[in-house]
Assembly symmetry: C2
């Protein structure tokens, strides 16, 4: 199809499609003449993936580029590929709140207590430590009492996520499902947790 049809079928404007090609997010179409290119269904799917990561996942162009590089080059063992894809889509933590070292030790102890096979230096362990130190700094350190409830819930969610990922038939789809499931899954989880709050609050306070 021509770029105009690609634009119509995905709702992405032609200049934006050209921008994504220039930025290396979308493979160029097959040239059929010096100034005309042909696109296929793989471009439609990739464009929707790009927009999903940006609009729902809130990722920037440069992060989407890194994420797609992980999707496009899965050469390592599965566990390594998943780790790389996950690392690419995890935003770096901002700032160093007071008490970060103490919170890091609390996270390491939490990981040990749960028996999780995770390096305490993992980027998400660091993100958890920053969040905990921030809770403590604003006088809500007691929030840590709910951590084990969160952990049990996350173990259930992760098992469901991995079962979904494991149903993918090839490595490309596997990596794509990790990226999509992690980024869009965050959005699903955040929205659903708020709905569960509304429900719980209605039961508790409205009688």
């Amino acid at each position: 199809m021509r770029i105009g049809e690609l634009s119509r079928r995905t709702g992405v404007a032609v200049p934006t499609i050209k921008y994504y090609v220039r930025e290396g997010l979308l493979p160029a179409g097959r040239l059929t003449s010096p100034n005309q290119a042909d696109y296929d269904d793989s471009h439609i799917r990739r464009l929707r993936l790009i927009r999903g990561l940006m609009d729902v996942g809130g990722l920037s162009v440069s992060v989407v580029r890194e994420v797609l590089a992980a999707v496009d080059a899965p050469e390592e063992p599965v566990h390594k590929v998943l780790g790389a894809a996950q690392e690419a889509i995890t935003p770096p933590t901002v700032g160093e709140p007071d008490g970060l070292d103490e919170a890091r030790r609390a996270v390491a102890e939490f990981i040990r207590r749960r028996g999780w096979r995770v390096d305490p230096g993992h980027v998400s362990a660091e993100a958890l430590a920053v969040a905990l130190a921030t809770f403590r700094g604003i006088g809500h350190g007691a929030f840590e009492e709910v951590l084990d409830d969160y952990a049990v819930a996350c173990e259930r969610i992760a098992a469901a996520d991995l079962a979904y990922v494991g149903r993918q038939v090839d490595v490309d789809s596997l990596v794509e499902s990790v990226v999509v499931g992690t980024v869009l899954g965050d959005a699903v989880l955040s929205a659903m947790r708020r709905l569960a709050h509304v429900d719980g609050s209605a039961r508790q306070y409205e009688g």
Copy 2:
């Protein structure tokens, strides 16, 4: 204390503190002379809350202003206040993916099936519908099979969150804990889910 000490004790630069006062995020200090103001511990706590919402929660200055307005003016019944605080901190959805109406119907059916007391037009129900439509658009509609696992997990998390919120002794702390728990809780949940993924992946693929 003077603004210099407030800056030292919170790690927030003096011009930034002045900016937050101008933007209405932080109450002005008590004037002790025409060009000198006095700050107290409430300013320290408020500044840490602002930085937590921005750095960990990723909120913008204007969203933080709305959120703090909810924290500062809790005059309505508790369930209403919680709803208003929650609405202020929930980012509006971006874009209208294909198949949004169908996804909205799926979300309404999901809410009905779970027996949740939630208006299907709730801002978070809309966010969930946008995420589901995006999943479908990129060929990952099968992800919906995990929704009930997510729901069970979210019910557990929401119960723990509400128990924590319910321990607050006054309405101010109650509303603050909702805001903090929702925004920073998202960060905790996102980080912890990724750690659970690493653990699950290690068990599944490393043997």
